[in-house]
Amino acid sequence: MAEARKPVPVPSLESWPYWEALKAHRLMMPRCGACGHRWFPPSLLCPACNARDVTWAEVSGCGKVWSFVVMHRVYHPAFAAEVPYVVALIELAEGPRMISNVVGIPPDAVRCEMPVQVVFDDRDGATVPLFAPAGAAAGRIA
């Protein structure tokens, strides 16, 4: 039986620039050309002012853990070898919050408000943004 692969994100018509930038290891967020609001996930209109003026701006990749859970139950065979693993809501320094994993640290050491930094996981033709404790080696994960 073939080894189960982790799901590869399927971009939408609004999110494809985000995923394209990630392939180059750049974390880009939508930013409103009219009011400056940043948001996530990507959509056609600015959720703050509804302007049709989506621009894309790279963010620092620095953030903090807003909240997190430690997944023990296996819902997908590709994660069977990963449990327990951390799913977190990350608040980026620029404001938007996004779901990701916290890696490079034991699950029981993760805390709310812990500073983290993006790392890039290249996976079957896509790149997925994960987060590691700030100060750990940035860049591609092992």
Partner: protein, 389 residues
């Protein structure tokens, strides 16, 4: 005084068999519950001219399917989609339709076959139980192993623990209190004793949630009939008055602002209390949407039964017990009776006010009941305040 306060009533309630009911589909379960509600009210299909209902998301035109099975032509009918907030919203729509002259007697119901559909195959058990595959997220979630409602709600629980010092001891108190109620309810699926020690010994699902923080995966349905208070006086069942209702939805998103720790229940509660002319101190029993233990804790705070951040101390005080200051989820709730997406909470609120139960299961002197509904990616909320006629 609000013009609709006490103007409408619930005149019949019904449940299907609950738990493992592999011989009935989601629609069959709802037929069973609706027929029981009609019988209790002393009504027939010919008396019904409105249907508002909901079932699993892969049953399209749900109200047409159920109306056809019951043989009802409707002046007003619709399916609705506001997650666990839908069932109270169905009662609200029924009132609005009658008030607008569109119908006179409206049947509301919800049925699901969650146990059967997740236990037909090993693959079924792996899936998030009710979301059709084509509607599951394909980005910003699955690539991180972020699946299932349990994780979404657990994020809120963790943040609440961080901000307010809430602990799993608090969640345990909720699970144990509701199980004690289920033990007195012959219809409840989970009637074995549950102790604090059992709670902590159980496997973790999405920490901070373990097995007993999660509501049940069950087959079941519930139904209620709404009509005017005036018409209700002539019917068989003891009517229960609709004193207030409201909804509020933090549809901007669960992840935004402080939505995870102060839910849409706060705004919904304020509006419903205003309509009813009542406050938290007037509530004799609460039936709170308990998809997960934490959601009860935060809603108790959001409704004003205690201050924000003090929900842990409140639930550990014994308040939720049948003899406590706020008997809550007196059927066992979705954590221990059965999970029918909030519909059974409405049924339980009505029946407590009708005083139909034996003493060991009956809230004494229950004049006013609060029912809450919550869901739709955890951002949608509805509130219903019922009163003894």
């Amino acid at each position: 005084m609000h013009p609709l306060r006490d103007k409408y009533a619930i005149v019949g309630t019904g449940k299907s068999r609950l738990g493992r009911v592999p011989d009935l589909s989601a629609l069959g379960l709802l037929e069973d519950a609706m027929k029981n509600a009609l019988d209790e009210a002393g009504l027939t299909n010919r008396d019904i001219d409105g249907i508002v209902c909901r079932g699993p998301d892969d049953i399209y035109a749900h109200h047409q399917e159920i109306a056809a099975r019951l043989g009802i032509n409707c002046a007003f009918s619709t399916s609705l989609d506001n997650g666990g907030a839908s069932q109270i919203l169905a009662v609200m729509l029924a009132v609005m339709a009658i008030e607008a002259g569109l119908a006179t007697t409206v049947l509301c119901g919800y049925g699901r076959d969650s146990w059967s559909r997740t236990h037909r195959s090993g693959e079924g058990r792996m899936q998030q139980n009710l979301v059709p595959s084509e509607q599951r997220p394909r980005e910003h979630g699955p690539e991180f192993g972020y699946f299932a409602a349990v994780a979404t709600h657990a994020l809120g629980a963790r943040r609440h623990m961080f901000q307010y010092g809430t602990t799993r001891e608090d969640f345990a108190a909720i699970a144990v209190a509701f199980r004690e109620h289920a033990r007195r309810n012959p219809e409840a699926v989970m009637r074995e004793p549950l102790t604090r020690e059992d709670y902590f010994a159980a496997r973790l699902i999405a920490d901070p949630f373990g097995l007993y923080d999660c509501s049940l995966v069950t087959d079941g349905a519930g139904a209620v009939i709404v009509t005017s208070a005036e018409r209700a006086r002539d019917l068989r069942a003891r009517p229960v008055l609709i004193k207030g209702f409201a909804s509020f939805n933090n549809t901007g998103g669960w992840y935004l602002e402080d939505h995870m720790v102060s839910t849409a229940a706060g705004e919904s509660a304020e509006r419903a209390f205003r309509m009813a002319g009542l406050g938290p101190a007037d509530i004799d029993t609460a039936q709170i949407y308990d998809c997960f233990t934490y959601m009860v804790l935060t809603q108790l705070e959001d409704y004003g039964f205690c201050k924000k951040g003090e929900g842990g101390a409140f639930v550990r005080s014994g308040a939720l017990a049948l003899e406590g200051s706020l008997p809550t989820n007196t059927s066992g709730g979705q954590l221990s009776e059965a999970h029918v997406e909030g519909m059974l909470q409405i049924v339980e609120g009505v029946r407590q006010l009708q005083s139909v139960y034996p003493p060991e299961r009956q809230v004494r002197n229950a004049d006013v009941a609060l029912v809450s509904g919550h869901g739709g990616n955890t951002v949608c909320h509805s509130s219903l305040i019922l009163g003894r006629a």
